[in-house]
């Protein structure tokens, strides 16, 4: 069983995240880059299966050179190998291009199962896993709160706005997992040492047999504006009548 886990590097949500208002692109220098928390959970789902079964787990990421850190962490957690798609031509890629490139890398590597996070904390698109599945021509099951890999197939419970749906699909398939899935493990010292010897391959677009043309017409950012920062208003310390003062504030603002 060959499992590919998609890990994305994102700006740390604990810091300020900044867009370049001229290009609409992420200002990578302005914040710390970390492995997206949700992708650590995706990796955990793969590693738990590997703990009890014969499986090969590969972490795949597309992004600039700093992505190496994210892949090293994945290897330290227990992934067997890592793949990094890096190419200057990929800077500023939109959803269509990201999905096409990741799908090409997955095809080149070969796979039985792809596990992704349900949505990245930066873009919050939540569409890349489904797009990849369509490129690969395999079933997708996104937003799984729980999942179980059984011989030849995968089943899981998908939480949606209305309740839950129990689903299954034959392998090969693509799934994405939510925050409700496995709590990720911490890399231990042994894992960190071992990670140094594990393979980390870097592929360019040429290695994937792709060039800059041949993508679906993508999207174009036409304008980016920053919302003025919010400022604090009135702040009172309760001395026994704060509830009454708040009712007055709400009434004055026609909020009740």
């Amino acid at each position: 069983m060959k499992i590919i886990v998609l890990v994305k590097q994102v700006p740390d949500t604990w810091g300020e995240r900044t867009l370049n208002t001229a290009t609409g692109q992420l200002d990578r220098a302005a914040s710390d880059a970390v492995i997206d928390e949700i992708d650590e959970r995706a990796l955990e789902v793969a590693l738990q299966f590997k703990d009890a079964n014969d499986a090969e787990v590969i972490a795949l990421s597309m992004g600039p050179s700093s992505v190496t850190e994210v892949l090293r962490k994945s290897l330290a957690m227990g992934a067997d190998a890592a793949l990094h798609v890096q190419d200057d031509a990929l800077s500023g890629s939109d959803l269509s291009r990201t999905a096409a490139v990741l799908a090409a890398a997955i095809t080149k590597s070969g796979f039985d199962l792809v596990i992704a996070g349900n949505e990245a904390t930066d873009g919050r698109g939540g569409v890349i896993p489904a797009m990849i599945a369509e490129h690969l021509g395999v079933p997708s099951m996104t937003y799984l709160d729980s999942s179980e890999i059984v011989p030849g197939s995968i089943r899981g419970v998908r939480g949606d706005e209305h309740g839950t749906v129990a689903v299954h699909a034959s392998l090969p398939a693509v799934i994405s997992v939510t925050e409700a899935s496995a709590e990720p493990r911490f890399p231990n010292f042994k894992g960190i040492m071992r990670a140094k010897k594990k393979p980390l391959d870097v592929w360019s677009l040429a290695d994937l047999g792709l060039d800059e043309s041949g993508y679906a017409p993508g999207t174009e950012i036409t304008r980016t504006t920053e919302r003025p920062a919010r400022t604090a208003g009135t702040k009172i310390v309760d001395t026994g009548d704060a509830g009454i003062q708040l009712a007055e504030f709400l009434a004055a603002g026609r909020l009740i």
């Binding site: 959803l95 569409v127 797009m131 369509e134 079933p139 925050e179 679906a216 400022t231």
Partner: protein, 324 residues
């Protein structure tokens, strides 16, 4: 005028999901709105009048036996067929769990551009322009799909308040063929029974949220009491969700729901950056917290340093007195 498709989600029992009105309105901003619905043969006609009342000029009813048994594949086949038949300038879906999966696969299948989680759409010189609110509302980004092909757009639930004028929809019924080989199978559907007449969190005009400061599931009732006194929806921080006070569907923030109400009241919530990302575009923010240094106060229009268990009951009483 070209067509714009609005994909309408329906429940297992055939009811239109509440995103329909918003989606038809969004489609109407881009072209002649056509509602696309998937149903088992002979079961879908009933929604035609309802969708017309919401502004759909036409209902494209795709019939397949696989509706309800295959995950997203019937919906994909329906939109692919409707798109081929009507050559729309845009296909609009909800940015829901299903909507995202359908939209993502459709964009690849039709080889066209995808604009996700948009809060507004308009048409300019024949181009679809979408407005996104990113990084918790810190930035507004406009984007478009250059070149041909329908723009595929997912709209944030509750984001568009406009409504299209009611009309009488024409009905087109087509049988669609679904590729089952690359589809996941639905084994069981459990729609949670919502036994509440509180407004839904998404799109609510008023939201009262509780955090870890409430201390227990039993105490969380205080949040619900204030919400009911204000006719507000109930939200929560992730810490309150993780502690089991409320279901995950109430989570506001980075990895929860994004709300943009007229009034947001945060009770016993510290205001971590990930929570603020989901509520800081609210018109008016009120916070009650014991800790004078809680970061929520940095963005509150009215902050009270105090105990929720004394301030909130007094507020509820004051609201009651005013209502009389």
């Amino acid at each position: 005028m070209t067509h714009a498709l609005a994909f309408i989600e329906i429940s297992a029992s055939g009811e239109i999901r509440n995103t329909a009105a918003m989606l038809i309105a969004a489609a109407a901003q881009l072209g002649t709105p056509v509602a696309v619905v998937v149903a088992a043969p002979g079961t879908g006609d009933a929604v035609t009048a309802q969708l017309g009342a919401l502004g759909a000029a036409q209902v494209y009813l795709a019939e397949t036996d696989t509706a309800g048994s295959l995950l997203v594949a019937p919906q994909l086949a329906a939109l692919e067929a409707a798109s081929a038949a009507l050559q729309p300038s845009a296909i609009v879906l909800a940015h829901s769990i299903d909507g995202r999966e359908i939209a993502g696969r459709l964009a690849v299948r039709l080889r066209t551009g995808l604009l996700v989680d948009v809060v507004d759409v308009r048409s300019e010189a024949g181009n679809v322009i979408a407005t996104h609110s990113v990084f918790g509302g810190g930035y507004t980004v406009e984007a478009t799909v250059p070149g041909g092909g329908p723009a595929i757009v997912t709209v944030r639930q509750g984001a568009i308040e406009a409504r299209a004028d009611a009309t009488t929809a024409t009905l087109t019924t087509e049988a669609v063929i679904v590729d089952a080989a690359s589809a996941a199978v639905i084994d069981a559907v459990h729609d949670a029974v919502v036994a509440t007449d509180r407004p839904e969190l998404r799109g609510a005009a008023r939201v009262v949220s509780g955090g870890r400061g409430l201390g227990s599931q039993a105490n969380f009732a205080l949040v619900e009491q204030l919400a009911d006194a204000l006719g507000a929806a109930v939200g929560a921080s992730r810490a309150a969700v993780d502690a089991g006070y409320v279901p995950q569907t109430s989570q506001v923030g980075q990895t929860g729901i994004t709300v943009s109400p007229q009034l947001y009241i945060a009770l016993g919530i510290s205001g971590a950056i990930q929570h603020r990302a989901g509520m800081q575009t609210a018109k008016t923010i009120v916070a009650i917290n014991k800790d004078a240094d809680a970061p929520i106060f940095d963005i509150a229009d009215f902050g009270i340093v105090g105990d929720v268990f004394t301030v909130v009951p007094q507020l509820i009483e004051a609201l009651g007195t005013r209502a009389e």
